[in-house]
């Protein structure tokens, strides 16, 4: 085991379609994630954030790049080694209705997950299932019930219990609360936060809601068209965004305090023009320039590189210093 970060993602690319006209869903993403750390990935739909999460678990094919988990590259893994890798990294999906098999009882589903990686001896498995249910705040007596008997929030708890069944070190949560009601969202967010701290999990939290990400995560990556355009500690990113896209995203989020303040000050938000372009089209210069409210001549021709502007704060904008 190396002394580096637990998860080290280096220049990962996921392309679809033909060689001549690739759709660059994830286009050279690098980051590191430590034990006990929660990293948020935000961006609009189509920016590649879900594809990135899935690719890290090998649920999507990785075109190039390296994904090192404690120094071992998982990109080329097959068979037993891939299975071993998956027992260390698990996923929670957005749709609590679609991600549970309706024909498996809660007990059956969890027993299967516990058995799959043989971490618990057979006689102790029932015990482990009950423990898992308790850890996500569900009654252990629910083992005979089926997914349709649960509410959305409870199903998301089941999804979390299933992910925890193999005692993973890394959890990738893809929009885990966006399908839930406001009052239930917080229950799941608090649970996720608690478990992450108790079990010292590394958490990759993918979401489009910046306020939610801020609540859960220590550090945040902002993605646009398959690339990371800004990465920073949560505090710094919200206090002082250094990329116009982040700035626009923050300004667009409807927020109670901001909305009430805007009524008295009459302050206008930054509204981005148009939609996000298709990742199949190559844009010259900065990929964000057609929608940017601070665009200049240089942006149309030169691709900005991701560079560190302050300690731990990276941005891919030519004019970040002026923001």
């Amino acid at each position: 085991m190396s002394g580096g970060p637990m998860l080290d993602v280096q220049d990962v690319r996921v392309y679809y379609g033909s060689q001549q006209h690739p759709v660059r869903a994830v286009d050279g993403v690098s980051f590191a994630l430590n034990r006990g750390e929660a990293l948020g990935v935000v961006g609009e739909s189509g920016c590649g954030k879900s594809t990135l999460g899935r690719a890290l678990l090998r649920l999507e094919p990785v075109r190039s790049g390296r994904v090192l988990l404690d120094g071992v590259d998982m990109v080329g893994l097959r068979g037993a080694k891939l299975k071993a890798f998956r027992s260390r990294a698990q996923m929670i999906f957005q749709d609590p209705y679609g991600s549970l098999n309706p024909r498996h009882s809660v007990g059956g589903m969890l027993r299967e997950a516990v058995a799959a990686h043989n971490k618990v001896e057979r006689p102790d498995r029932e015990q482990r299932v009950a423990e898992l249910l308790r850890s996500v705040g569900l009654d252990p007596a629910y083992t005979r019930r089926y997914p349709h008997e649960f509410s959305g929030g409870q199903r998301q708890r089941l999804g979390l219990a299933r992910a925890l069944a193999v005692e993973p070190e890394l959890i990738i949560a893809d929009e885990p609360v966006s399908a839930l009601d406001v009052s239930v969202q917080v229950q799941i967010l608090n649970l996720l936060k608690d478990l992450q701290q108790q079990l010292n999990l590394a958490l990759l939290f993918i979401a489009h809601d910046l306020a939610v990400v801020r609540y859960v995560c220590h550090r945040i990556l902002v993605m646009y068209l398959g690339k990371v355009v800004e990465s920073a500690p949560a505090e710094a990113l919200f206090a002082h965004p250094r990329h116009p896209y982040t700035e626009a995203l923050l300004s667009a989020v409807p927020d109670v305090a901001k909305g009430l303040a805007a009524r008295t000050t009459g302050q206008n938000r930054i509204v981005l023009r148009g939609d996000m372009p298709s990742p199949a089209v190559t844009i010259p210069g900065c990929p964000f320039h057609p929608r940017c409210h601070r665009v200049r001549e240089k942006c149309r021709t030169e691709i900005p590189a991701l560079r560190e502007i302050e300690s731990g704060h990276c941005t891919a904008c030519h004019f970040a210093e002026e923001m």
Binding site: E44, V186, Q187, P254, V271, D275
Partner: protein, 326 residues
């Protein structure tokens, strides 16, 4: 702007029930509110609280059966919507009241062009108008680029944001007096959400229509609404001017909702979750419907249902203890 203008819509003690299982489900149980001309009113609540059913009822759109209007009145411009004959109702729908729904992708008909769908409403309600020219005008108004070409496009050829613009173009084509926007931006990305909101506000100002905004997003309410009504389990539990309710909520549910929303400026410590889930409208608890989840609930809340206490025509609350909590 407040409710000082003349009343466009008045809803009095509306009761909507659904039949299916053994007991009728009281989806809306005694809801009263009004909307003035040109005003933006928000109806706030979680899924299953009856806000969409209330909104649909304004144009009597709840299918009967299984639905049934069991009581109350809805007056639109002085006419009783629940007592209207079909012909009058047809004139009301689409001309005086129009709707924008959450999922533009499923609200548009996939087998007709955008142009056809916008023109349809114009042809029905304004037979003298040049439908094509009007449709183009509407598409320009909602900011669809290259409207001439887009007229011939099918819904699947447009992005979600553009589809929602088309829905809005259809909705305003007959210059309605009331636009009901049911979670108009929930299915969209935040940046597109901001575009659509700005568009709605701009159109509302220009066309002078009233808007009923149905949402669970309190941030949206803070930015757009003049007045707000908070619903829980088919009842209105609090109402008032939106900035006041949001700044000083009186009902424990409104409070809890506000405390449960992660804030952009960061949260000190933990967010307070509302324990439990929204009750099933077929099995509502006795007493105050919120008491099983209310941290302030007392003995009285478990047995007796609080009545509506109006502090003024504009604001009121349904809670025994709101004064003690303030």
């Amino acid at each position: 702007m407040s409710a000082s203008g003349s009343k466009l819509v008045t809803v009095e003690n509306l009761q909507v029930q659904f039949f299916g299982g053994t007991n009728p489900v009281r989806a809306v149980d005694g809801v009263s509110f009004d909307i003035a001309e040109g005003e933006t009113v928000a109806l706030v609540g979680e899924s299953g609280c009856g806000k969409s059913v209330t909104a649909m009822s304004l144009a009597r759109l709840v299918p009967q059966p299984p639905g049934c209007y069991a009581g109350g009145r809805i007056l639109f411009g002085g006419q009783d919507v629940l007592a209207m004959d079909e012909a009058t109702l047809r004139k009301l729908r689409g001309r005086d009241i129009s709707y924008v729904f959450q999922e533009p992708g499923s609200a548009l008909n996939p087998v007709f062009t955008i142009g056809w769908q916008i023109m349809e409403a114009i042809c029905i309600h304004r037979p003298d108008a040049d439908a094509r020219a009007e449709a183009l005008e509407m598409m320009r108004l909602v900011g669809i680029p290259e409207p001439e070409q887009r007229l011939k496009s099918y819904p699947h050829e447009l992005s979600g944001g553009q589809q929602q613009r088309v829905m809005i173009a259809m909705a305003i084509a007959c210059r309605p007096k009331l636009l009901v926007a049911d979670e108009p931006t929930t299915a969209l990305d935040v940046t597109i959400q901001a575009q659509i909101l700005d568009l709605l506000r701009d159109l509302q100002k220009r066309l002078g229509m009233a808007m009923l905004l149905i949402t669970h997003n309190l941030g949206l309410v803070a930015e757009t609404a003049h007045r707000m009504f908070v619903m829980y389990a088919g009842r209105i539990v609090e109402s008032g001017a939106a900035p006041e309710v949001l700044a000083q909520p009186r009902h424990p549910y409104t409070r809890a909702l506000l405390e449960a929303v992660p804030r952009l400026e960061g949260t000190e410590g933990r967010l307070k979750a509302i324990e439990g889930t929204v009750p099933n409208p077929a099995e509502l608890p006795p007493g105050c419907k919120f008491h099983p989840r209310c941290i302030f609930a007392g003995e009285r809340c478990r047995v007796e249902e609080p009545v509506w206490e109006a502090q003024s025509p504009e604001c009121g609350v349904r809670c025994f203890f709101w004064k003690e909590l303030a």
